[in-house]
Symmetry: C2
Subunit: 176 residues, 2 copies
DNA sequence: CGCACCTATAGGACGATACAAGTATATGCC
DNA sequence: GGCATATACTTGTATCGTCCTATAGGTGCG
């Protein structure tokens, strides 16, 4: 049900086509939400059936028509209800941490490689976050900017932790 | 497919019943993996069919029999292959950040409440992490302890970010 | 006895998801 | 024309995940 809310949220900002939504999930909200293309359209179908959105076909020159979706009052109301509802229960699934937890079967080199790979990914995420234009100007923009700062803070914490973990792991290797 | 790997990982530590696995997912690995009870048994069934585990019925006094599952060579090999395979692509789904991103429709109080609730959850997570006994003694234990330290580092980063975000939000409210 | 809780395992129904494949139009290049 | 890329939308299918339900045995309490 959660992609539904993310889509409602994006449509609250402005009316969008499925393709626009796909681009948003690949860009401006990629730091906190991923969505698969086929899922996006499925969610839109359901939202339309439920009366949460309405759809207008917009013709374009030299490009295929777009189906532009906008929130209905019901959709806006549903979004608001979700925003003020209790936070979801945290149900972590962290493959990297799982790998590290069970990594005793690996050699020191293999563990070091795992940590290196994680660092590379983390630095890449940090770059991507820094490439997202920071919204400015009003309260909505500030709230959006806060999500980017969260991403940066967590990536930086991860890099610090990686340094620490590498140091500890190296000491353990030396002692063995 | 990822719960499968987590189960293989746990069984690499020692043979366990489905119930034991359930307790591990609620306890010693809760900080990085959640698993639903019914999924656990389903995964075990599949692992057995695939030859990755073998199962022994163990009788107990005053308690029901247990079905204790242990890794086969194939299962151990599968786990190892996963551990050294490339890291999974990060596909975030962060309901809290989504809520914050789309929170312009909320009042200042409602936003503040959202941040408060997030803080409470984060403090709870921190407590839970601190309640997990820190494994010590060997390399495997150190790797496991590293995952706990990651959890703590991220929770602390989150609390810092919350302070900062609250401050910024308060300033914005004052200016409005 | 019923209830609560624990140990222990299993399945149903439904929705969500990942990954793959498909359709259509347009432009540019070989 | 075929291929690549972009814009735009759609569907198939197997698996996964959630939440609910069920079974069985044991202990302790009112």
């Amino acid at each position: 049900m959660e992609l539904r809310h993310a889509v409602l949220g994006l449509l609250s900002i402005r009316p969008m086509s499925g393709y626009d939504l796909g681009r948003a999930f690949a860009g401006s909200v990629a730091h906190f939400w991923y969505a698969d293309q086929s899922q996006i359209y499925r969610v839109l179908d359901r939202l339309a059936v439920d009366g949460a959105i309405e759809t207008e076909r917009v013709r374009q020159e030299k490009l295929p028509d777009r189906l532009v979706h906008s929130l209905t009052d019901a959709g806006r109301s549903e979004l608001r209800d979700w925003l003020i509802s209790p936070l979801e229960q945290d149900r972590p699934k962290e493959p990297f941490l799982a790998r590290l937890f069970f990594a005793a079967a690996l050699s020191d080199d293999e563990v070091a490689r795992l940590l290196d790979e994680r660092e590379q990914e983390t630095r890449k995420v940090l770059e991507q976050l820094r490439a997202i234009p920071v919204p400015t100007g009003d309260r909505a923009a500030e709230l959006q900017a806060a999500t980017l700062r969260s991403g940066v803070a967590h990536a930086e914490a991860e890099l610090d932790w990686l340094d620490d973990t590498r140091r500890r792991h190296a000491q353990l290797s030396d002692r063995r």
